[in-house]
Symmetry: C2
Subunit: 368 residues, 2 copies
Amino acid sequence: MKVTVLAGGVGGARFLLGVREYVSSVSTAESDIETVPASEPSSASIPARKPARIPTSDDVADANETSTRVPESRASQPTAIVNVGDDTWMHDLRLCPDLDSCMYTLGGGIDEHRGWGRQDETWSLKAELAAYGAKPDWFGLGDRDTATHLIRSQMLRAGYRLSDITEALSKRWSPGVRLLPVTDDRSETYVVVTHPTDGDKQAIHFQEWWVRYRAQIETHDFVHIGADEAAPAPGVLDSIRDADIVLIAPSNPIVSIAPILAIPGVRGALRTTNAPVVGISPIIGNAPLRGMADVCLRVAGSEVSSQGVAEYYGARESTGILDGWLSHPGDTVSVPGIAALETPIMMTNPSITAEMVASACKLVGVQP
Amino acid sequence: MKVTVLAGGVGGARFLLGVREYVSSVSTAESDIETVPASEPSSASIPARKPARIPTSDDVADANETSTRVPESRASQPTAIVNVGDDTWMHDLRLCPDLDSCMYTLGGGIDEHRGWGRQDETWSLKAELAAYGAKPDWFGLGDRDTATHLIRSQMLRAGYRLSDITEALSKRWSPGVRLLPVTDDRSETYVVVTHPTDGDKQAIHFQEWWVRYRAQIETHDFVHIGADEAAPAPGVLDSIRDADIVLIAPSNPIVSIAPILAIPGVRGALRTTNAPVVGISPIIGNAPLRGMADVCLRVAGSEVSSQGVAEYYGARESTGILDGWLSHPGDTVSVPGIAALETPIMMTNPSITAEMVASACKLVGVQP
């Protein structure tokens, strides 16, 4: 069964735990051969030195040779198309918060309490950077996490694509989900704010808005810098086209899902795929499951409710992307063209989340 | 009093502690105005973002503005010309082991037990890189230390010179010694070895030879890759020319001092300066004070003794660089043209090391 998920952030990562469990259970039921690979430790085959030339696709194929050895398990792996709008360069390190949250969560390396970054994290590097007065100083750069950033940055500077790098890094974590950055190009979310220090209206990077200012400054708009010239990463459009079902994770619609939809071709693929597209509400009542989706929705002019988000995405039979929508019991949603279902959507554990996925499939008549 | 020191490694860093103490004591005696600045915390004014253009000297002057505020204390600071032959790129980080050893030792941040790296170090990043299978995996990349590498690498990629970066980093540490890399250009020590895995004769980076193989493989030669096209960093030749005395620290002659002498112009400056040049033996009896100078000297065809090292450097009145030489009591040295003195040269603490410096000055008639 081919499941493709649009995901970002903590909500997206936790949702993928349930998707993996669901797909694994139905794949095991339908075939003894197609199993999700066990989480065995494996090295990432990171190149030690920069190649003297820009690597070709052959080099990348060599570097990622093990990926071609497990085609049968690939078939039963869900695909996640992951937001890269949060990505940024900081201290010459390329940070990909959403890809890392997905990778760490699925690989068992996430700090469960914080919801981001590595468990058993230490913070020596951050303390030292602060002692040097290095800016920015408001970002939580953990020592363990930095290894991921360092390898990624080195490979990017060596000419590898983010999608290839993500695959290489994932070998260590065996996430059981194919993690695809929505694009290999730079497309970053900037936030138009009234700057708190000088009162000027200016665009700051999403990370600065989110981490430094906790979204608590006057905010006017979100823009996707670079999106118009970005191309979908290899596999992104195919995974939407060839899916049995496409799911929109209960991620922040404005800053996690919208930056995915902003990449040319993605929205069109969602509107034309034969697979039904089902979203899960990130809002219960009038509050987000986590994070600051309420703030973001208000800025975007949407109502902070499951109804508001469903309207924001819209129905495929109109100009939107949804065929179905899951909201929490009591959150009645009515949008023409969208099949709505009220069902528990608190992602308490992967099994409960897997039941949400089962409900989504059932809602639009997709058989496992 | 103007003292310039050629230094590298742990021996060089410890020697500088004594030089600083000596210069501070004689400066305080001769003037109440010229004092070594107190070790007050200060930020390094590290630029947060890459400049859109290559920075000019004006930018650097701005970035380093505080350095122009203390010219009177500068005058009493010794200058250290530091080896960069050990420097290398690793995981896209520029490592400058000797500069860092000097900076951390003088700034009170060194791990005294190891003799290199930061005190209270943690090793999360190294463990994570190993878990990813990232190569090389034999280098001790500490979390705290990595902050220094990260800032330096970022500034190098932004176009700053190593000498400017060293000055910026030093602001945090207030080393009380002007630390100058001998060159801003890339000049690295490679070691010609019979490779242990394939038996081929090949050149490996000094760090690999030193750290990975502990110098315990068949070794043929040391070469200074890039030295012939390197230029002395700003201030290097001036500090030799304008010194009252030039000291050669008891560093490894072959892999710490020779790479300094390999930079075009340095040897000539030492041979033509009006200042006397006095070296301190890194060998006591037939053993190095620390490190593996014995192995290096044997490869270079020199006797492992104070006499052997004095001959290796040679007398200025011949074709060498020395006017005076300090060796440990019992290590009698006789080289025509070199004034030799037997005096305790164990650097037990900075005060005892300061006495060595006083002896060196006295030996060649330099008044404080």
